[in-house]
Amino acid sequence: MEEIRDVFGNLISEIGGKDSRIVVLDADLGTSTRASKFSKIPGRFIQCGIAEQNMVGVSAGLALKGFIPFAVSFAVFIAGRCYDQIRVSIAYPNLNVKLIGSHAGLTPGPDGPTHQAIDDIALMRALPNMMVLEPADRREMAMVIEESIKLEGPVYIRMNRGSSPDIYDNKPAFRKINILREGKDVALIASGFMVHKAIKAAKLLELENISALIASVHCIKPIDTETLLDIAKKVKFIVTIENHSIVGGLGSVISEVLSEIYQIPILKIGIKDTFAESAETDDLFKKYGLTEMDIVKKVIENINMTQFS
């Protein structure tokens, strides 16, 4: 199965071959992030070495001169290490830089907490002017790359390591919360790597006669409030599911938005304000409560609670 980072590497090289505005910057992780695919394009692949803060600044300079830079590294190093560079040299001047953070959430598994970005969405969405995207499968990935090139302004794109099964048959709608399946008891609202787990969970819930709506949120900021409200009106409660800390991520976004316009319980599945550890990714998802069974359990535990009825 083609991973979304492969989609990124192949697609950006294909588009960059024709569009001379595209430049790709790597900080010595290109073979892992697939940014190296772009190195076949002469003069527009920029190897910055192990110096991410400079890479982000160089991207800002290239954007000032009219290029569309894609600065690529692990999500921890983009959003965490370069936070102030992104804040002052990209978000504040509102420059047209696309930041790609790979190996999101627990997906770098064995590398351990130093490499697991559990806070990158929280950081990036706090920045004015910044769009925050997290594609769930290869179609969403292709869409966010193509659309972010059309947009003038800073964009953060988060991508995971490992295979992401297809969730769409057709092209998803950009910036929209895409409803993959309708339901009336609970809405499972997920992003990125967690969407296919939500789909599996919904199938298991069906066996328990629980009807679950599934929605994929590739655009975390700005959030599609209209669809979110529609979803909230259809179900009894919402479970948000993310490969990120429950502090400041998708669950927080949805709670923030709905708390001002609609009364509905929102439960969160995500990393519970803790650093994880080194292990195979699947084992981490089990230990830290991010499997489809955790979703099922959360729904069943809460579906009959009186305050929700």
């Binding site: 070495g49 400079n54 160089v58 002052v88 001047p93």
Partner: protein, 270 residues
């Protein structure tokens, strides 16, 4: 070589710009006099001799550019842009006030003529390297200038950028170090050590110059020197230059100017 007339013209401008800086800081009630007064000649030289801003389209980046990485020195930049006719003289009085186009640190979107937003130290050299690289890729002959503080180069990102620029042969990049030897709380050498800046930058692959940063002829010679490497001009300057009681005084890095001090300073700058 600068002609005699050019030199006299620039020296007159320097006096005027220093007055504008003191006025701006006095009206604002706060700001950074020391590090603004030390970069006046560098800025004037660059804007009158090297950077050809199209007054009808100051936002265009298809030209040589300046990034004031030590963004707190922006009163000097605003004063020079005002002399060029890009910022209205009256607007200078609104510096740092509510709804002003003149922010406490440079804002490229609010202020026409400001090429890059800066303020968090250490970031401008990377951005300048990006601009220089962009011009190289496009085959343009523009130059990118950046002004760094001598305290600012304590930031690690500066050294990432220094290595990057040399390794990418950015001979169209020119960095000035405003070497006034003082920072907010101490002498620069107290925290940076007594390292030889020239040899450090030279070892990294830069073409280095050491000049008097208040001497237009020396600035001119260093800028004009043809080099196949990125260029760093270590400009010996005086913090607070032009106002006797501010010169070489650590406390004038950032200090409110009283009415008495304002009058005294303006008298000296007449």
């Amino acid at each position: 070589m600068l002609s005699k007339e050019e030199k006299i013209f620039l020296e007159e401008k320097a006096k005027k710009v220093r007055k504008l800086i003191i006025e701006m800081l006095y009206y604002a009630g706060s700001g950074h006099p020391g590090g603004s007064l030390s970069i006046v000649e560098i800025l004037l030289y660059l804007y009158y001799k090297e950077i050809d801003i199209d007054l009808k389209d100051p936002r265009s980046t298809d030209r040589s550019m300046l990034i004031l990485s030590k963004g707190h020195g922006c009163p000097a930049l605003y004063a020079v842009l005002s002399e060029l006719g890009i910022i209205d003289r009256e607007v200078l009085k609104t510096y740092k006030k509510l709804d002003s186009i003149l922010q406490g640190h440079p804002d490229r979107n609010k202020t026409l003529g400001v090429d890059m937003s800066t303020g968090s130290l250490g970031q401008g050299l990377s951005v300048a390297a990006g601009c220089a690289l962009a011009d190289k890729i496009k085959g343009k002959s523009h130059k990118t200038y950046v002004i760094l503080g001598d305290g600012e180069i304590q930031e690690g990102q500066i050294w990432e950028a220094a290595i990057f620029a040399a390794n990418n042969n950015l001979d169209n990049l020119c960095a000035f170090i405003d070497y006034n030897k003082l920072q907010l709380t101490s002498k620069v050498e107290d925290v940076f050590g007594k390292c030889n800046l020239l040899s450090v930058w030279a070892d990294l692959g830069w073409q280095c110059f050491e000049i008097d940063g208040h001497d237009f002829e020396e600035i001119d010679m260093a800028v004009k020197f043809k080099s196949e490497k990125p260029k760093v001009i270590i400009a010996h300057t005086i913090k607070g230059k032009g106002v006797s009681f501010m010169e070489n005084k650590i406390e004038w890095h950032s200090k409110k100017i009283s009415e008495k001090e304002f009058e005294k300073a303006m008298l000296e700058l007449r």
